[in-house]
Symmetry: D2
Subunit: 402 residues, 4 copies
Amino acid sequence: MAQPQASDGAETGKPPLRIGMVGYAFMGAAHSQGWRTAGRVFDLPLRPEMAVICGRDADAVRAAADRHGWAGTETDWRALVERDDIDLVDICTPGDSHAEIALAALAAGKHVLCEKPLANTVEEAEAMARAAEEATARGQLAMVGFNYRRVPATALARRMVAEGRLGTLRHVRVAYLQDWLVDPEFPLTWRLRREHAGSGSLGDLGAHIVDLAQYLAGERLAGVSALTETFVRERPLPTGPSSGLNAVSAVGTGQVTVDDAALFTGRFASGALASFEATRYATGRKNALRIELNGERGSLAFDLERLNELEYHDGTEPATHGGFRRILVTEPEHPYLEAWWPPGHGLGYEHTFVHQARDLVHAVAEGRVPEPSFADGLQVQRVLAAVEESAEKNSVYTLIAA
Amino acid sequence: MAQPQASDGAETGKPPLRIGMVGYAFMGAAHSQGWRTAGRVFDLPLRPEMAVICGRDADAVRAAADRHGWAGTETDWRALVERDDIDLVDICTPGDSHAEIALAALAAGKHVLCEKPLANTVEEAEAMARAAEEATARGQLAMVGFNYRRVPATALARRMVAEGRLGTLRHVRVAYLQDWLVDPEFPLTWRLRREHAGSGSLGDLGAHIVDLAQYLAGERLAGVSALTETFVRERPLPTGPSSGLNAVSAVGTGQVTVDDAALFTGRFASGALASFEATRYATGRKNALRIELNGERGSLAFDLERLNELEYHDGTEPATHGGFRRILVTEPEHPYLEAWWPPGHGLGYEHTFVHQARDLVHAVAEGRVPEPSFADGLQVQRVLAAVEESAEKNSVYTLIAA
Amino acid sequence: MAQPQASDGAETGKPPLRIGMVGYAFMGAAHSQGWRTAGRVFDLPLRPEMAVICGRDADAVRAAADRHGWAGTETDWRALVERDDIDLVDICTPGDSHAEIALAALAAGKHVLCEKPLANTVEEAEAMARAAEEATARGQLAMVGFNYRRVPATALARRMVAEGRLGTLRHVRVAYLQDWLVDPEFPLTWRLRREHAGSGSLGDLGAHIVDLAQYLAGERLAGVSALTETFVRERPLPTGPSSGLNAVSAVGTGQVTVDDAALFTGRFASGALASFEATRYATGRKNALRIELNGERGSLAFDLERLNELEYHDGTEPATHGGFRRILVTEPEHPYLEAWWPPGHGLGYEHTFVHQARDLVHAVAEGRVPEPSFADGLQVQRVLAAVEESAEKNSVYTLIAA
Amino acid sequence: MAQPQASDGAETGKPPLRIGMVGYAFMGAAHSQGWRTAGRVFDLPLRPEMAVICGRDADAVRAAADRHGWAGTETDWRALVERDDIDLVDICTPGDSHAEIALAALAAGKHVLCEKPLANTVEEAEAMARAAEEATARGQLAMVGFNYRRVPATALARRMVAEGRLGTLRHVRVAYLQDWLVDPEFPLTWRLRREHAGSGSLGDLGAHIVDLAQYLAGERLAGVSALTETFVRERPLPTGPSSGLNAVSAVGTGQVTVDDAALFTGRFASGALASFEATRYATGRKNALRIELNGERGSLAFDLERLNELEYHDGTEPATHGGFRRILVTEPEHPYLEAWWPPGHGLGYEHTFVHQARDLVHAVAEGRVPEPSFADGLQVQRVLAAVEESAEKNSVYTLIAA
């Protein structure tokens, strides 16, 4: 009779990649699911080890460790980044602490995965990108968590654009529509305060779509013209710690100091036009990140609310039989799908974190800079800064700093 | 045995409304179908009589009269507008002749229906609106042909907005996507030359969506910020007369002098945000006029490629059972549907012209100014002018003249 | 100055095809729209002339003539079919009078268009098919009105199947779902009484889908196994004349003597399997005639509620880029579309009657038997009879008489 | 500084539920993901422990243990079921071994989770249901793995039916469409051989839809009428061990001894009608389990290819605003969603196994018979047997044994 034996993968002989994660709210849960699953589904060169989770409240972080399956806990991120038994620091905190933690982690010799947006200001992001570049020379790697690049359908879209299936690009239109602020009684969580979140829908949703649009287009924006708006300027204060999306309101109100919605148009370097909209006031739209690209030879369209699907129009086909087709992105030949289920058995939101973990582990094992890099994150930050500048300057077309 | 008898409706005793139509290309065919059908389906107070069709080429106009069922022909619109046996002049020519014909027709005491855009310049449109207002005092009526207000689904949307189902409006996003210019070998028809068309996708598609957005919102735009682009600046010359959308190319090339695409954002008077896109380069999108409105209490969405449907989200329902519902706008209680087929038996594009004819006949019979009036058409022209001004001034936010 | 002149097409020099139509309810209105429009849109070899409309109530038929544009009226169909100035009799009455009128019209030397189902019994249909065949020898033509063959999307589907794009056929699944009987208080119109309608959803909806399935498959059913059901067996009596779909209920109730729903499976001659469902109890489905065909090389899917679209899956494409594509069937190369609007400008339900008129006029002018012929209508009747027989015999598989 | 500590949940003080799983192909991988995740996302009363995985090939099972995270291995299921350190046996083998393993496991005092279909014959299923019932008296629980009850959208559908939102049920139509056998060169895996799989699409896909239809309807089928077909009767033999869905073909061919497709209609106890189709030949349909229920007050529709959505038509609403709405089943109030991501962040196929694990753990902790029970599995088997009997007897309507 075979003996039960420990099976955290240790027996496989694969070297471990010891993770220390800071933050354990929404993003912490999602990253945990990613780290827990990646090595069970994909054949990875390193064995991700959920070593330490870090948060300020000792009881809460202990509970989070138990819940999510982290071996140890820390209550001070400064202690975490200095630990010898950690290889990679995964930053899942609000944007106002990204720079400080990431810089310290890089200084301490760790690899870093940092949630998006990279930082709350261009200055912070520049410091981070600089530090990441220097760390690269020392063999450390840094990546920013634009997880929507890792939906199989968006990864397929990128591949198809790279194959030339769209030809010369004419239009990119992107919207990220949510509706969780429609109710004016929703409380003033940290996501609605500039000092913590940096900006509102712009940094939260806009950062995603700027990154995704540039990633899929394979080129960068040259300039933007923008409008932003805060529809509800005063909201009830939340009681107790808020996790960003969920909160209970309390006595008293406070000022909303971020944008509720941001609309901008822009030009890509190639001359293609782009339009962007990020809002938390699109009643009935829950997580509708929609992107469409039109090129001289074809078009692609994606909606995050139907994330297993990619729509493709092959413009080179005869008009009689042409049309937007719904590719169900669940075939073994599709990106990331070699390891999952048979065709038609869809994936979900959290799989983007599994794929992110997979890709980062490969990058670390191979010693190459992962994408999106901190430099990519900085460039997105510059686009967001140009959006804010244009919005302040009467929407005037504003070039994006190189 | 009953005797066969003439049945153009003369026997009904209804007074006639004698139409003289100028132009017989795409719009002329569509208006003919509208005039031919309206009185056969709806119970109208007047009997539309397809009296005279007018075009410069005598043979061609004679053939068009036979094809479309017009009783007589004219080859000079000046003669047409002066005829005593004509009550209403229907202008289906390119935009560069709208003002001259409309002013003459109004001066000659006729009612006028004028295709959109009302004119190629604000100045022309102002003169037309002024003349229309003066004519109203004399009992003459003038209407501009924004036919997309008369899709049952858009008319229902308007009714629902007016009922307060959306509450405070937050967002209006509109795109009118076509793809007939993707091929750089498509010839230089009159629609691509500023002297005839006034502008490109802006005046052709943009005029529709500006009117529709304001109509559905029930309010007007305050200002806009715009980008325009001409992707393909030189095209083959067409051979022979071109009808705008169809043409055969010939030796030689010419300059495209209008925009290929126009993107603009804007603010409504109430503070709601709007985004607009008009393009003829959205590969695979044939006639995708899409509009979505988000309000505090609900949302509506429409796509002209599925014109019998209206999507509605009732934001006051519990989240557990809420969702965008597909209203099949074919019920007898829906606008214009009292006279058509049983539920589920859809209508098509041309029915907008039947409904336009119906509404105009009612307005004439009742002596009230029809909507959209020339004043409405002028206001749309002012929006388009502000778009062009903003595009020329580095996208700066530009107020719309009142 | 050109003179107004009569323009019912007489001036074109085309020989007329003089129509006498019996019945003026729902189908009469639809056929009128077809006859009125066909020659205005398509270039026909004959000029359809809306000569005489016939109905029992003199005032009502006079009003219908005025409304729909028929020149004369008759109150006795026997007089109509004998008139010398009529070339074609168009039968739009309930099924119980089809055989008698059609036989008399054929005997009187007329061409005949007969609404579906061809008759209420196989015996009647046999007599009609026999008479039609004999009449063919005399140069008379007869056609049955399965108008759904003439949706551009279904005609395109037929063309694609004939081109071999599906390869060996495996499955045909069809449903025709309506919901107008869900309310048990809906009154007992003629459509719910066996003596008038022959059967219920089976003859009304089932006849359409049996014809369409066989037409698209390009082959006939060999046998069927069926279940039928009458969910609501007693309904209020209607007041006054009922038009089938609309009625006002009155005092007293009566027995529903037809099926409410019919489900059947079957085998095609080739071995492909088929499933059928016809019901008036599918709450929320208004006119959902849905058909899907799966073959070894590809699949097609259609839904009448979105009649401008055809879904096509090309099974020979690599799985990476394959998917069901939405063909917007509005291109000039698509069936019937050469004469209509630019791409993306959709058609509606009534256009099937315009196309039916067009095809019948061509057949008459060319002296060839139109499709679907009375023989085709008889064969559908035999399928329906086999369905009823199977349903009565405990669903046993029942061969269809050849 | 906090110490890293073991965190397989042991520290939580929750009693463990020690799982022994037999089989490690497709279903084994899916169940592993379920066991691994359930306790990390949901707050469970017991701590699932992935104790032992069992398979015949020692090396392969060792590799599977490492990959999927099982602590120990066994190569003989008889040894597994006798182990004292196992509480629950999870059976993921082909159907021909279900009965033997389940009976032994129950006899050995274990709880049992058995993949569907419960068995390959009614006789086996009867023995299993009997044994399960007896074991219940001893405190052991048994459940069959109809995981599609645990898609949040289907669970919501069940809740809505139970709330009376559909009223009297009229129609249930279900199809499970796949296409992996379209290619005649696909090899003869175990799923195509009666001795292993029991039946073909009927037992594999049909079992799912029979269970789901009855579960959602809240009532059982009374009888069925069926057609089955094997389109491709001879296929290449596979090389090496096949996992069912994937295989490499080899020299020689063999007979397909199961059905390729099964169509059946039926009646529910209440009189509602049902239609079923299960096939592996629906080109382009990858995993299209579609179910629609129509009741007097409303309708529901679901498609597994869009598993985060439920379509609902509320028939009590005014027709003017009614329509099928797309409920995005991702709200915290939706079944299973309390523990996952914010609204709009969809789940995937594998989550059904997480939910199955969750529900089973709760049932075990509370000592109540889980659903679907072995008795439920037996009843499904009886429906499948009636389908086969009807298909053999010329489709005659066949009552389902009680």
